[in-house]
Every structure is written in structure tokens, then in C-alpha cells.
Amino acid sequence: MKRDQFRRPDHANETFIMTTVVGSYPKPKWLHRVRDLWEDEESDFDDENWDEATDDAARVITDEHERAGLDVLVDGEVRRNEMVEFFAHRIEGYEFNGPVKVWGHNYFDKPSVTREVAYDESWLVDEYEFAAELTDRPVKVPITGPYTLANWSFNEAYETEEELVYDLADLVNEEIEKLVDAGARYIQIDEPALATTPDDHAIVGEALERIAEDIHEDVYLGLHVCYGDYSRIYPEILDYPVDEYDLELANGDYEQLDVFTDHEFTGNLALGVTDVHVAEVESVAEIKENIKKGLEVVPADRLTISPDCGLKLLPRDVAYGKMANMVQAAREIEAEIDRGEIEVSRTPASAD
């Protein structure tokens, strides 16, 4: 089974609930200062210094994930500033005009597609290879999906956004092939824009078909969608060619859980079990109750748990606490299942 490759050899319980994070993580404070230096034209802080600093930050965060006990790690996306901007800088055809509002005083440098997009330099292979060298645990690679790359940009060049999405899907496919060649086996495609424009779920599906076509059989593909009304895209998304759906439900106190129980959930579920917008660490007991919500949707061998979304806006000690408690909660639930204290069905993952 694809999921078994992520089970650690020393995993103590028979039951395996995979633990991971969505991707981003609070950057060390010093890295923000270093970025200011690097971006200061009058400073002599050059690209080489910046690379060294981000390597160090990746070491720190990967180690932090390992210490928290996660089964699958990420490097915290320490080299990335924002989930569209980072990629748009590496794709031919994009231009930047300045920051635009998201909410309040939070902005992002929303790029414009001004001509046909094309693959230029590698996006994530160096990042993956570096992180994979740091640990003997599997490293997940989050990558922004083609729909979000298109929808969160200004389209000046293409007749329709759909055409842009498919061109970008070809580029994402090219990058994923390179990542797979480099050894990556867990790829998470981030498509938060789907939650804002649910009517486009068929376009997202077609883009994912292009990405998943001919992909290596051992590669485990995840899809992350957050902050929206899931009833507008479910159960249609079950037709997507992915192994796992990573969903944000803790933030809404699992009010949307019914959406996934009314119609059988046939994929693997990566469930958000800690709220990334609450700056307090949920207790192990509380997280265990949240994990049990996931068990109402899928059996344990098809359940992955993670925070709702990226942790990057939280204080670092809170982010660490949430991860550590989440892992402990998962291990306790596994043991309780093994002892028969929690009744769950056991079915093979249909997506495998």
C-alpha cells in the first residue's frame, strides 16, 4: 500500500494514523531579519548568504518536525514567501505590479500573467533534495496547484482562465516529474482557490488529470483545500485522481463533518485536528476527540491527521506544541484501537 511506505519501522502500534503538517511553519525570527538584509539594495548581503541562511532555517524546522514526532515532515517552506508569488517568480510569463489586499492590512504581491506561461528554472527540487538529506523520515512536498496559480493571478494573456489553468497544469506536471525523479513520494497539491470558486471543480479535476497522468505508481498524491463550503464541491471531488484529501474542519468545530458522512468518503482523509487561527495549544484530550471525528468518516488506516492549514502565522512555540500534542494524541488513539477500546472498521484504502 502506498501509505505503508510512510510508516516508521519502529512504529509501536498495529494501527497507523499518519501524522503530518500541511506545509508552512513559522520562520525563525532571525530569518525575517536576514530577508530584510537580503532585500536591502544597499546591503552587501548576497544570494549566497541568503541560501546559507535558508539552508540553516530548513535544518532547524525539519529537526523541529522530527522532534515533534511527525511521521512525514516538511521543511516549513522556509524558502517560500507566499504560495503564489514564490512560483510565479519561477515561471516565465508572470509579471509583478505591487501588493494587493487580502484582508485588513495583509497583502500579497499578486502577479499578472502577461504572456503564455512556460517552465523556466526548477521550482522545488533543490528544496526537496536538501530536506530529504536531513532526515531518514519521508518528506512531503507541498506545491501550489495550477488552479490557484491561475485564479490568484491577474490573467492578461489568455482568452479564458481555464486555458491558463491547463497550461499551468502542464508546468506543475513537469515539476512533479522532476520531484519524483529526485525521490519524492508524497506530493500535496494546494488548491485553496477551489473553495472560493466551487463552480470550477470540473476545471480543477481536469487539471489534476493532467498532473496525475503517468505518475509513478508509488507516489502518494494529496489535495489540500481549505476555508470554504465543502458541500459545494463534495462529493464531486471524490472523482479527482488523488489519494488523499486534506481538509480544514477544526476551525469550524466540525460543523461540516456531515457533508462527508452523508455521502461515503471513498478516498483517504487528511483531517485538520488543530485550529491554526487559535494561538493556544489544544490539549491531547481535545485533539483525540477531533481525531475520533475523522474516524466517523474513514477507518484508521485511511486517516491522516494534520493541522487545519499551514502553521506559519502562529508563534513558533505554539506551532510546536500543536504538532507534538497532535502526534501524542494519534499514538494514544492508535493504542486504544489496538486494545479494542475504540471500535473502528478496517477497510483497505480504495484509493491505493
Partner: protein, 329 residues
């Protein structure tokens, strides 16, 4: 035909102000505008207001808006700063990647004078002032209600907005922005009430009133009811849906004046003045039975979605249209 160039307001902050105000106010929910700001924050907004008014005047627009730079919560602003409204969780602003604080009405919606004060300050810089407010249906749709009987809420919001308008200084036009009439269309009975609520707000001013709709076209019945409202013009979004908006006007007619949303407020691709003029002609040719008193030419949506440089280029293109119309008139 008189062509009048304008915008539905809600401008992006200039880049200097994005940085300055985020430094002064902070990034979190509780740092957003409360309506009682003073000192450096109020001064910064004063500078922004003047800059936005100068931008519009220099571009040559016929009507200028205050710019609504203080409206952290976009259209929900008039409630978000109200004493009897609590702002709670962050919720999505329509189907955009933008969010605002959920305004929860917990007490009586008395007049606040917040927007009137903005307009007073703006009127020092222009004689061609256009006021901008959310329409009552959209504002009620964006808010939560814990005080009024559900059936009374829309009327209460309309009454509140009418009170705000009564306090306005002299203004040439009032744009009532009603995207919810498209995005979350009222059902049977509610459509009629939505138009009556708009009527109530429009009656509070002697200025020309334009009800601007966007993100598609109105359902036929909603459009028909909106025509019953005593307003001077309805605005149509000819960027996101040309066919259905044309159909509505061809089939049901419209008011004596019209607003045409011809420039894309959500895309950095800048329409040339020639393109805008061609679009005006193209629509005119398809509405041979209609002779409009005034054709307001505008962006389809608010402008805050754009980066600073592109919003200015859009204003310049609109201004060019105004200049050309004056030459040919």
C-alpha cells in the same frame, strides 16, 4: 447622450500607506478600523483621502469618490464601525480571496455619521462629489443579525442607510453598490422588498441615485422589481456578463440613465480609451430603442483589488474617455 465617467470607489491604499497604516494599526482582526481612530492614524487616512481625490481629479474623471480607504471591511464598513455592531470572525467577501469581519448587529441601528464625516472631509477637495454606500440588500446580506426580527432586518438596514445619507454633505450622485442582488439573489417576495429598501435609501437624497450591480447579471424578476425602485440609473457589469445584461435591458428596458461597468476592476489588463469608447458604441448599437439621459461609464467592481500602478492607469484611461467625449460632444 451625456457620458459621465466615474467609479464605484473603494480604492486601494497607496503603497506608502499600506506600509504606514499596517505599522500604525497592526495586522490582526482587532487592529482594524473601529470608527474612533484619531492621531496619526486619522492623519494618515486624511493624507490618503487627499491623494485619492487628486488622482481622480488629475485623471479627469467627471465624478470623484472619497475612495473609502478606511473601509477595512469593504462594503460591510458602515456596520463594522457602528456602536451597536460587534465584529466577529473573518469571513469571505463573496467568492473573492478577500475577507472581512463578520458584523453582528446586536442593538438598534441608529445613525452614526461615519460616512458623512468622510464625505465632509472629501468635499473640501472637489465640487463633483459622488457618495458611495452599500445598497441595503447587500449590506444586510453581508451582516449577521442578533437584534431585529429576521423579517425586519432589511428594513432596519435601509432605515439606517437612509439616516446616514441624510447627514451627507452636498453630493452630485449616490452610488448604491448591490452585488448581492446578483450573487445571492433575493427570492419571491424578497426581491420586491429589496427594491423597496433601495427606494427608502434613495429617497433620502436629492442627488442622482445609481444602483450598481456586478459579478454577473440580475435574474429577470429581480431586475424587473429593481426597475420599480425610484432611482435614476441601474448599473450593469458588462465585463463579467455581456449577454445577460444586454438581454435584461433589451427585454425589460431600464431607467432613463444607465451605468455601464466597462472596465475590469479586478484585472491589471488596462483597457485603452479606444476600447472603452468602442464598447460604449457597441452597447448603444444594440439598444436602439433606448436614449439615455446620462451614461455613467465606470469599472464593473470596486477598485481595491488592483495594485496601485494599475488602478491609476485605469483612472487615466477613464479620464481619456471623458476628455474625448467633451471634444466630440
Amino acid at each position: 447622450m451625456t457620458v459621465v465617467t466615474t467609479t464605484p470607489g473603494l480604492y486601494p491604499l497607496p503603497d506608502w500607506a499600506k506600509e504606514a497604516l499596517s505599522g500604525l494599526k497592526g495586522h490582526q482582526k482587532h487592529d482594524l478600523i473601529g470608527g474612533d481612530e484619531g492621531g496619526e492614524i486619522a492623519d494618515a487616512y486624511g493624507d490618503v483621502r487627499e491623494e485619492l481625490l487628486v488622482d481622480q481629479t488629475e485623471a479627469g474623471l467627471d465624478l470623484v469618490t472619497e475612495g473609502q480607504a478606511r473601509w477595512d471591511d469593504m462594503l460591510a464598513h458602515p456596520l463594522a464601525v457602528h456602536d451597536n455592531v460587534e465584529t466577529r470572525g473573518i469571513v469571505r467577501y463573496y467568492d473573492n480571496n478577500n475577507f472581512y469581519r463578520d458584523p453582528v448587529v446586536t442593538g438598534e441601528l441608529t445613525e452614526s455619521g461615519d460616512v458623512a464625516r468622510e464625505l465632509e472631509a472629501a468635499s473640501e477637495f472637489t465640487d463633483s462629489l459622488q457618495a458611495v454606500l452599500p445598497g441595503p440588500y447587500s449590506l444586510a446580506d453581508l451582516a449577521s443579525n442578533e437584534h431585529y426580527r429576521e423579517d425586519d432586518f432589511l428594513d432596519a438596514v435601509a432605515e439606517f442607510l437612509a439616516g446616514e445619507v441624510e447627514a451627507f454633505p452636498a453630493h452630485e450622485t449616490l452610488f448604491l453598490l448591490e452585488p448581492s442582488l446578483v450573487e445571492n439573489a433575493p427570492g419571491d417576495g424578497e426581491d420586491e422588498r429589496a427594491s423597496e429598501a433601495i427606494d427608502r435609501v434613495a429617497a433620502a437624497t436629492d442627488a442622482e441615485v445609481v444602483v450598481h450591480t456586478y459579478w454577473g447579471a440580475l435574474e429577470e424578476k429581480v431586475h424587473a422589481h429593481l426597475l420599480d425602485a425610484d432611482v435614476d440609473a441601474i448599473g450593469y457589469d458588462f465585463v463579467s456578463d455581456v449577454d445577460d445584461n444586454l438581454y435584461n435591458i433589451q427585454e425589460y428596458g431600464t431607467k432613463d440613465s444607465v451605468a455601464l461597468g466597462l472596465l475590469d476592476g479586478q484585472n491589471t489588463r488596462v483597457e485603452s480609451p479606444e476600447t472603452i469608447a468602442e464598447r460604449i458604441d457597441w452597447i448603444g448599437e444594440r439598444l436602439p430603442a433606448q436614449e439615455f439621459d446620462t451614461t455613467y461609464v465606470t469599472t464593473n467592481t470596486e477598485l481595491f483589488y488592483l495594485p496601485e500602478n494599475k488602478y491609476k492607469e485605469k483612472l487615466a484611461a477613464l479620464g481619456e474617455v471623458a476628455a474625448r467625449t467633451e471634444v466630440t460632444a
